[in-house]
């Protein structure tokens, strides 16, 4: 029987990176077994790899290591080391390290991996790290039945996802206004991500994620309860002109030449009648007249708003000003 002692094996990696990895593994082993909050000083003098002469050098190294733990998905909290709350130390809280077992089979992991490769989010397909955490994939073969790009803004989506999973209140800027919001869901539709939820006055709202800035996720978790039976997809309109505050029923004629295209765009809340000459008459609910007129103008003179008169006038005013 042949036994290979691994410490004798050839080193193939950058020694500086290896030092970081050794140190982090030691730090994690310590944090996961010590069973109490430990101060930075205790870590410095106990865990192998932190032998630093200078306070400042240690502080910088420890800050980097904490950031690395965060990137890995590990949560690190400060807790009082004793009942008098004089000193605080670091602890990996319950559930802060490990993944509860989802009970996936190899076949299900392989299916997830194929899906992750076929869909881009944040500008690229997901790396294999998430699948490694789930237990890796045996004998996965490539194959991309669907190639879809779900947008670029993965960073902020991750934070919003945390907030909605943990029921945390968020604040952000949207159209130059500061908002305080209860996130209930995230919806990808028509090429955009939408955040849906309610204001602190319980007004249901939807916001385009790519227009959100200065997002802050607040403590504590469990700050609100989602309405029972909430369905995120019901909060996003089928057509862009259905999102708004007005309540207008428009009647529109589409010429035969563009009828096929109008049908595909019109949304499921409209009633459509085909005329003998192939043209369509449609009754369309409009909540956002500007968006609606913009869409109708895309047909130039092959669509006509029949009623109401005020929508016709708004369209003609827009055309005259263009």
């Amino acid at each position: 029987m042949q036994t290979v002692h691994l410490s004798d094996a050839h080193r193939v990696h950058n020694p500086r990176v290896s030092k970081v990895i050794e140190r982090i593994l030691n730090l994690l082993a310590f944090l996961l077994t010590v069973g109490r909050p430990v101060s930075a000083d205790e870590i410095r003098y106990t865990v192998a790899g932190y032998e630093q002469d200078e306070d400042e050098a240690f502080r910088r190294m420890f800050e980097r290591d904490k950031e690395l733990l965060r990137q890995l998905g590990i949560s690190l909290e400060m807790q009082a080391t004793d009942a008098f709350e004089v000193e605080y130390g670091y602890v990996v809280p319950e559930g802060g390290y490990e993944l509860p077992d989802p009970g996936l089979t190899d076949e299900e992991r392989a299916a997830l991996w194929l899906a992750a490769q076929a869909v881009r989010l944040g500008g690229q397909p997901s790396g294999p790290e998430a699948i490694f955490k789930l237990g890796g994939v045996a004998g996965a073969v490539g194959g991309e039945p669907l190639a879809a790009n779900l947008g670029e803004e993965l960073g902020i989506l991750g934070d919003l996802f945390t907030a909605l999973v943990e029921h945390r209140i968020i604040t952000f800027h949207y159209r130059d206004k500061k908002r305080t919001f209860k996130p209930y869901g995230l919806v990808h539709r028509r090429g955009h991500w939408y955040l849906v939820g309610a204001t602190t006055d319980d007004d249901a709202r939807a916001f385009r994620v790519d227009r959100i800035s200065d997002l802050a996720v607040r403590d504590p978790a469990g700050a609100f309860t989602r309405p029972k039976g909430f369905k995120a997809e019901k909060s996003i309109p089928d057509a862009p002109w259905e999102a708004g505050s007005e309540d207008i029923m428009a009647e529109v004629t589409f010429d035969a030449n563009v009828a096929w295209w109008a049908r595909r765009e019109i949304g499921s809340n409209a009633t459509v009648t085909e005329q003998p000459d192939g043209s369509l008459t449609a009754r369309i609910p409009v909540a956002h007249p500007d968006a609606f007129i913009g869409w109708i103008l895309g047909f130039v003179d092959e669509a006509l708003i029949v009623s109401p008169p005020e929508l016709r006038e708004r369209l003609l005013a827009k055309v005259a000003a263009a």
Binding site: V4, L6, S7, A9, H10, R11, V12, E22, L25, A29, F30, A48, D65, Q71, L72, G73, G95, Y97, D101, P102, T105, E108, A111, L112, A115, A116, A118, L121, S126, E129, K133, G135, G136, V137, A138, L146, A147, A148, N149, L150, L157, G158, F161, T162, H167, G185, L186, V187, H188, R190, G191, W261, I293, L297, V300, D301, L315, K318, V319, A322
Partner: protein, 307 residues
């Protein structure tokens, strides 16, 4: 900042260890296959693990990692027996990818099961809170099949720019979704060049029996727009309410006050946009676009007058 590379390597180590701990004696090649390791990388990582452990750092404190007859064993590392939790971004990306396939009707039963299981673990309190809607226009399936079987397709296509409808014979290379639209990347025999078509602008499509040879490395599936020599250019001043145009279209930004240069192969594109923007934009320069805009304006006004 530590490099993402370090984080990726640590993630793989902390995923591989729990697997070995619950599958002692796993074959080296199987382990490499499962976690995407080259053999030398796996040995290097086990080698590092072997040097770490608990304070004291004596023989009983260090992690025991050995390879015997190509079987891998890891001992005295019970604290690493569970895999790392997913970051919110990782969980979201996996679920969203699965749901994208599912909404497009492309998810096998195993994927549907995996999405349900994963949702229970990472978002137990937020079921129904994540929705990905990638509904497909007609012909996506037909085109996808034609890509797989490398057969020529005849399409009737209405160009977004000009509104003109043409019949074309195309060699489909790939079908993909971006910015909420489905696209077909194909070699168009009519123009003897690669073209990207919007699938929802295909009015009719019919497969033929004629096979073609796909290119060895087809261009990546993305919507590209490169201004060409013969493009029509227009200078437009965007009002505050129209600044989104500069982010949405591939335009050249000329100053900080909303002045842009808009290029397209057909002046109708800019003219349609100007119609939509109304008083929120002003055409500063561009005779072809001005002419087309005036034509659109009088056509619309005429239609409403006679009605």
């Amino acid at each position: 900042m530590s490099s993402p590379k370090t984080a990726r390597r640590l993630t793989r180590i902390l995923s591989m260890l729990p697997y070995v701990i619950s599958h002692q004696g796993v074959n080296v090649d199987d382990l490499c296959d499962r976690f995407g390791y080259k053999r030398s990388e796996l040995i290097a990582d086990l080698n590092l693990v072997f040097l770490t452990g608990l304070p004291g750092y004596g023989p009983g404190d260090l992690i025991d990692a050995t390879v015997e007859d190509d079987e891998v064993f890891v001992d005295t590392a019970d604290y690493f027996s569970r895999p790392l939790r997913l970051t919110p971004a990782e969980a979201l990306a996996l679920l969203a990818s699965g749901m994208a396939l599912s909404s497009a009707g492309q998810a096998p039963p195993a994927l549907e099961r995996a999405i349900a299981k994963l949702t229970r673990v990472v978002a137990p309190e937020a079921e129904g809170g994540l929705v990905v809607d990638l509904r497909e226009p007609p012909f996506v399936d037909l085109l996808r099949d034609a890509v797989t079987s490398a057969t020529v397709v005849d399409i009737e296509y209405t160009a977004l720019n000009s509104g003109r409808t043409t019949r074309r014979s195309v060699e489909p290379w790939s079908v993909f979704s971006a910015n909420g639209n489905w696209y077909l990347s194909a070699f168009c025999r009519n123009v003897d060049a690669e073209r990207v078509f919007r699938v929802d602008r295909i009015r009719a499509a019919e497969t033929t029996d004629e096979p073609f040879t796909p290119p060895e490395s087809p261009p990546p599936p993305e919507v590209r727009y490169t201004p060409g020599e013969e493009d029509v250019r227009a200078t437009i001043r965007l009002g505050p309410a129209a600044h989104w145009v500069a982010e949405y279209y591939p335009v050249e930004v000329l100053d900080d006050d909303g002045l842009i240069r808009f290029s397209s192969s057909d002046p109708a594109v800019a003219a349609r946009l100007l119609l939509r923007l109304g008083a929120d934009a002003e055409l500063v320069e561009g005779p072809e676009v001005a002419e087309r805009l005036a034509e659109f304006r009088s056509r619309i006004q005429a239609r409403y007058r006679t009605d």
